[in-house]
């Protein structure tokens, strides 16, 4: 699920970035530092959308660095148990398959893949129905449901299922090609 929230961060800036462009420098460093990171609490920071405020800089003892408290608005993505996501398959093996929904990695274990789909080894490992009409392989898009999340300080990993109504392959580029 996406959220638009305000976060705060203390930015350290070297004096060589001071001057007329101080604010711009601060913001671009913030983007570089924060976008794409993940915190267990808020999820993945997708994009910074605005700066709320930049506080007074504090010179750090012993170094020339100055610390600015910056409040910024950003879009974060945090997967939840029970949430339905669309994801791209990245890896298929006999244990199941891995998929990505943006920054989130999801694993679907074999027993959460419908029983009528069998694993086929080979150059392009895949899960296929007996009549061959549905195939899950690398690069294809699936709709899945999150059934468990593992949230660490800097990482979120999910386990999903496609064993439910309206879940499974939604688009297979290989089949279309």
């Amino acid at each position: 699920m996406f959220f638009h929230i305000v976060l705060e961060r203390n930015m350290q800036l070297h004096p060589r970035f001071f001057g007329r462009n101080l604010r711009e420098n601060l913001v671009s460093k913030l983007m570089k530092d924060v976008e794409g990171t993940c915190s267990g609490r808020h999820g993945f920071v997708v994009a910074i959308t605005g700066i709320e405020s930049v506080g007074k800089g504090l010179i750090r003892d012993g170094t020339a660095f100055v610390t600015f408290p910056v409040k910024y608005q950003c879009v974060v993505f945090r997967p939840f148990k029970g949430e339905i996501l669309e994801a791209v398959v990245t890896l298929v093996n006999k244990m199941g398959f891995f998929a990505e929904a943006g920054p989130v990695q999801i694993f679907v274990s074999k027993h959460l893949i419908p029983d009528d789909m069998e694993f086929q080894a080979g150059d392009m490992p895949n899960y296929t129905t007996s009549d061959g009409s549905v195939k899950i392989q690398k690069e294809c898009e699936v709709r899945l449901k999150i059934i468990g999340t593992r949230v660490d300080a800097t990482e979120i990993f999910c386990v999903g299922t496609i064993k439910d109504d309206f879940l499974g392959v939604i688009n297979d580029p290989a089949a279309a090609a």
């Binding site: 148990k81 093996n93 006999k94 891995f98 274990s109 959460l112 080894a121 468990g148 386990v159 299922t161």
Partner: protein
């Protein structure tokens, strides 16, 4: 302010309803996922000890409308704590609450009403602020029970089909366990297999599956929980079936109740026992020195008192199983009290009015109440099957029959919807209509 409401006879609660209420209250203090409470609800319920919840519920079952402050003081509890528990009950739809700004006059009316049902004491220095009153809501409770049952069923079914279970993996060499949540760390790019972090052995799929929640918890209690949930579902289903064909006990809305109780007090001039709870006066009647001088400004539109009991109820300790008594002589409460399948002695122990009248030691009282409630639960489970529910049905219908004539007088009351349900059930007919309402309730809850 003028209140014109018909006089209604008090409602006797058939025992299956009481048992159902107890079952549902259990979900408030059983921390495991017997049910599908939201996390928020779970968190808020966690703060209360099981004892407190049982105690408050027990007290409520012996009362109709009661001012929450009075309830707290009767239980010798912090009113904040009691209110918190009541709020949970309300969230769970076990209780209706009624709040209003109170003037001195209104408070007095309530006090008279309370005195008439012989529980609670006159509070002399009533402040002029918002007062809240509460009362069990059996009808709503029934809907909640059905919803809860459905949720549990769905959950059990999901588990059976293991739709939402995390795959477990084990290392055949060092026996270390992993779950699907570790997949990212276990996957090896060289072959397709998962490898043990410790010994690099190839992991194998384990057969015993746990639901994701349990895997996160550590999985120790999985079996126990599932069994508990199953037992709970069975008990719930059993109870719902018992209750299904019995008309709901419906308490009047608060203004109605207050008016009726106040009128009882005025007309009889003594604490009378029309109210099912009135028989508690036997155990310790509350002195009412102020009754003579009270001027109650309740305008009851020719609400005639019918059925002032011809004979006084007998004290509970005098009633024996084989005695041939009328309901009034039994004081009606006796049936309700036996609901849990408890002997008379225990009922006396857990009686709420007793300590206030007798000045019991606080701690002893709390313990007694708690143990009595526990005992009731245990024994109820055993005796439930043997006991006939027919007498309850009879008593419920007899008592609601009396209402039927009076009911038609009023249509414009606020709680028309709730009363509508009462009407249906009171007549003992129109079961279909009832069903419809319940279904609506369920759908609404789910949406």
């Amino acid at each position: 302010m003028e209140i014109s409401v018909p006089v209604q006879k008090a409602t006797v609660v058939p025992k299956p309803f009481i048992r159902l209420m107890r079952l549902l209250a259990r979900t408030l203090y059983d921390d495991n996922n017997l049910t599908t409470l939201s996390d928020n609800q779970k968190k808020s319920a966690k703060g209360d000890s099981r004892g407190n919840i049982v105690m408050v519920l027990d007290a409520l079952m012996r009362r109709q409308w009661v001012r929450e402050e009075d309830l707290a003081s009767d239980l010798k509890k912090n009113s904040k704590q009691v209110r918190k528990i009541l709020r949970h009950f309300e969230e769970e739809h076990l209780v209706t609450r009624y709040q209003r700004k109170e003037t001195a006059k209104r408070a007095k009316i309530y006090n008279v009403a309370v005195a008439a049902t012989a529980h609670g004491r006159e509070v002399d220095n009533v402040k002029l602020h918002t007062q809240s009153y509460c009362c069990l809501d059996y009808q709503h409770m029934y809907d909640t029970a059905r919803l809860r049952l459905q949720n549990i069923k769905r959950k059990l079914k999901d588990e059976l089909e293991d739709k939402y279970t995390l795959q477990k993996y084990g290392c055949p060499h060092c026996n270390r366990k992993y779950s699907a949540l570790d997949a990212l760390r276990l996957i090896s790019m060289e072959d397709d297999a998962f490898h043990c972090e410790r010994c690099n052995g190839v992991l194998v799929v384990e057969c015993d599956k746990l639901s994701s929640k349990e895997a996160v918890d550590g999985g120790d209690n999985a079996k126990r929980r599932q069994r508990q949930r199953l037992q709970f579902a069975e008990a719930l289903m059993d109870q719902i079936n018992r209750v299904k064909d019995i008309p709901f006990p419906v308490y009047e809305s608060f203004p109605e109740w207050e008016a009726r109780a106040a009128m009882d007090a005025r007309e009889n001039g003594d604490f009378n026992t029309n109210d099912p709870f009135g028989s508690q006066g036997v155990n310790g009647s509350t002195p009412m020195p102020y009754l003579g001088e009270t001027k109650v400004e309740v305008n009851l539109r020719d609400g005639k008192e019918d059925g002032v009991p011809s004979s006084k109820p007998m004290p509970q300790w005098m009633i024996r199983q084989g005695m041939n008594l009328t309901k009034e002589q039994r004081g009606e409460i006796s049936q309700e009290e036996k609901v849990g399948g408890v002997s008379e002695g225990e009922v006396l122990l857990s009686d709420d009015n007793k300590p206030s009248a007798m000045g019991n030691d606080n701690d002893t009282y709390l313990k007694e109440t708690y143990y009595a409630a526990l005992l009731q639960q245990l024994e109820a489970a055993q005796k439930m099957n043997q006991q006939e529910s027919t007498p309850d049905i009879q008593s419920a219908t007899t008592c609601s029959d009396r209402q039927v004539g009076m009911k038609s007088k009023r249509e414009d009351e606020e709680d028309a919807e709730c009363e509508e349900g009462a009407h249906v059930s009171a007549n003992g007919a129109g079961v279909e209509e009832e069903e419809e309402e319940e279904d609506d309730g369920v759908e609404w809850e789910e949406g």
